[in-house]
Symmetry: C2
Subunit: 198 residues, 2 copies
């Protein structure tokens, strides 16, 4: 066995420390006030170490979200669409409330003015939308979801309320939020005795 | 008649020029790159003139959005909920695509790190939500909307898809977007022949 330190292992430790420091700062002071200087100080590395791997703070945070995405479960598929959507959206609601949610918020802000963040956010969102649409298409084929619904719109109807409440911070989400949203969007907003029956 | 210039009129002209310059810059270069210096240069005033009235660029943009809000129509109430929601959301969709939409996007970003922007955005959103809930409550009373639906959730189901698509820029909105969204959320995502009938 060699006693020399493994440079790739040390690199990965530094990368982990930088990612963790960026995440903590984003939670503590917000994306706007997070600086490369502060990330370097918190991680115990020099600024140049960060710039060797990433061009900007947005790029650091993007790698953190990509790692979260890689580690997350596939879209659930038990054969019960409502149960799978509830499981997936409840997991997302939980994630949005963690440090990773603060990072995701920072990236969505950065995406408005930073091309690296915009491309990375777009890729993450497109992959999430594609996964959801695949599950929804299977449910259309099995008759659990109306066949004439546009799947991009179904994604927006299911995830839009959660993002609306979370991004705009209109109110804290009540317990059981997504369960009730799913009931309303699947049953529809028309009165049960109204609509066609009138 | 006095030939002296009316100072209050000149002030209002300067204010208008500053508001217009801030709006144009927000559209052209985005909120992050809009500076008080650039607003002053574009409006043909000194920086101190801006700082006499507003503490920050976010405060300038907030006044512009408050003026847009004051000038906008009341929530429509023709007695037909679906028609009124379509009219109101179509007007909002149109506004989001204009310069005022770019300002609103800038304010939503600023609200994440600037307390003045956060308070102003919260007040504007709360007023919009209150107006929508008043109209929805009337529709519940008249039997056009299911009586057991939580009105905050109904607002999020109707406006969430539009904000999700607009803020996250996942895709350009297709023509007739809100009409189809309203059909889906009122009729529900369950298959017409499925659900209770199975």
């Amino acid at each position: 066995m060699s006693r020399r330190p493994d440079p790739s292992r040390r690199s990965e430790q530094s990368r982990q420390a930088i990612l963790a420091a960026a995440a903590d700062l984003c939670v503590e002071v917000g994306f706007a006030a997070t600086t490369i200087e502060a990330i370097a100080a918190r991680a115990g590395v020099g600024k140049q170490t960060i710039y060797r791997w990433w061009p900007s703070k947005a790029a650091v945070l993007l790698e953190q979200m990509q790692r979260v995405r890689e580690a997350s479960a596939d879209f659930p598929d038990t054969g019960d669409l409502r149960a799978d959507l509830l499981a997936q959206t409840t997991a997302l609601e939980g994630l949005l409330a963690t440090n990773d949610g603060a990072i995701w918020r920072g990236l969505l802000i950065a995406a408005q003015s930073d091309d690296v963040a915009a491309d990375g956010v777009r890729a993450l969102l497109e992959r999430a939308v594609t996964d959801a649409k695949q599950r929804l298409a299977k449910a259309q084929a099995s008759g659990e979801l109306r066949a004439d619904a546009d799947l991009d719109m179904v994604v927006e109807i299911i995830y839009g309320p959660l993002y609306h409440a979370w991004l705009l911070r209109v109110r804290p989400l009540p317990p059981g939020y997504m369960k009730e949203i799913l009931t309303l969007v699947f049953d529809g907003l028309k009165p049960a005795t109204g609509g066609d029956a009138r």
